[in-house]
């Protein structure tokens, strides 16, 4: 299933909103720099940088990939580690 709107229509509709959200991110990063202290080693900053890098890549699953950047890893062996087993 596709979106009934054309790319031009989506852009017309979303341009100001995208601009606004990017501006909010830019301002928040500026705010971090202006504040006392240094959080450059905080692992959350690394994730934010990874997310920003991701947005520049040309691919169709940016939202899914960005979610994964901010997610804890899944370990297939978790049930053995927890010593539990489904019925």
């Amino acid at each position: 299933m596709s979106i009934p709107l054309s790319a031009a229509e989506v852009l017309n509709r979303e341009f100001l909103e995208v601009r606004c959200k990017l501006l909010e991110v830019a301002a928040a990063l500026d705010r971090l720099e202006r504040a006392d202290g240094d959080v450059s080693d905080d692992p959350r900053m690394k994730r934010i940088q990874e997310a920003l890098d991701l947005l520049n890549r040309h691919q169709g699953d940016r939202a899914e990939q960005l979610q994964l950047i901010f997610s804890r890893a899944y370990d297939e062996q978790w049930q053995a580690q927890y010593k539990i087993s489904p019925r």
Binding site: L68, R72, P86
Partner: protein, 281 residues
């Protein structure tokens, strides 16, 4: 457009919300048992809560022509207390024959701990023993992906659980695919900040199609918007999606899913209208 909110916590909302929802087209809702914002001290607190869900809320809803259903469990957050959880699970069967109970829910994980997983499995046992449908809560934010995968492992590990009778809620872009691919129903929760926006929910409909997909507000005591489903309807209309597609997601899909529950006896708003009148519309 008539719609059904499959996940909303009306015990946390005022009566004016029922009126507003009715004005916006809400004709039915299902309310899963959840965390009250504090850990309850005894199983008797849950007994009172289950009475509220099965006796009080249906009456409040009916005043505005809304049909109210519910799900029973001890939520994942309080499941960390295994002793209390087992006491609560013991009293749930007392309520399963109440006319508005659809099944066991919202069970799931919160911080993906061993205790939460143990109590999740014990809820599955209860659901299987009493042939109940299941509504699943998936964790928040960074815990969601890991927790959803763990939940799917446990559901798929029990051959008695039919995926078509399980609704996995709060899916987002990184969890929707495995849920649908394994044959479960998926719910997208429309929240102001966390979870999903109406725009992203519409994106996921476009990417995955409307089958086994629903949207809900999960309106509760925290920042949330009980009228979020109409926001989704508006977003879909603004994208020029057909009314038939929107109606399938917000009305027909919930009815199809809930119809698998033995207690679901939904009466459409125009059930009393003759076929001639409907044909003339």
């Amino acid at each position: 457009m008539d719609y059904f909110d499959p996940h909303i916590h009306m015990v946390s909302r005022i009566t004016d919300d029922y009126e507003t929802l009715a004005k916006m087209g809400c004709v039915g809702m299902s309310e899963p048992a959840f965390w009250a914002g504090f850990d309850r001290g005894s199983a008797e607190s849950f007994r009172d809560y289950f009475r509220q869900l099965t006796e009080v809320e249906p009456k409040r809803a009916a005043q505005y022509g809304i049909q109210h259903y519910c799900w029973l469990c001890i939520n994942a957050k309080e499941a960390e207390n295994v002793t209390l959880s087992r006491e609560v699970i013991k009293i749930i069967p007392e309520f399963l024959d109440k006319p508005n109970v659809l099944g066991i829910g919202e069970i799931g994980l919160n911080k993906n701990t061993r205790n939460e997983a143990i109590i999740f499995l014990e809820h599955l046992e209860l659901a299987a023993r009493y042939d109940q449908q299941i509504l699943i809560h998936t964790p928040h934010l960074e815990d969601k992906y890991q927790g959803t995968r763990m939940i799917l492992d446990m559901l798929l590990g029990d051959s008695r659980i039919e995926p078509s009778r399980v609704l996995v809620d709060h899916v987002e872009e990184h969890t929707i695919r495995p849920v649908l691919e394994k044959g479960f129903w998926a719910g997208m929760t429309l929240y102001p900040v966390s979870k999903c926006t109406p725009q992203r929910a519409a994106d996921m409909v476009e990417m995955y199609g409307p089958e086994r997909l629903m949207v809900n507000s999960a309106g509760d005591w925290g920042p949330s918007k009980p009228t979020a489903v109409p926001d989704f309807i508006l977003e879909m209309r603004r994208r020029r999606h057909p009314e038939s597609l929107i109606r399938k997601i917000v009305y027909e899909n919930p009815l199809q899913f809930f119809s698998q529950s033995q207690n679901f006896r939904f009466t459409p708003r125009d059930a009393g209208v003759s076929q001639e009148v409907r044909a003339a519309r």
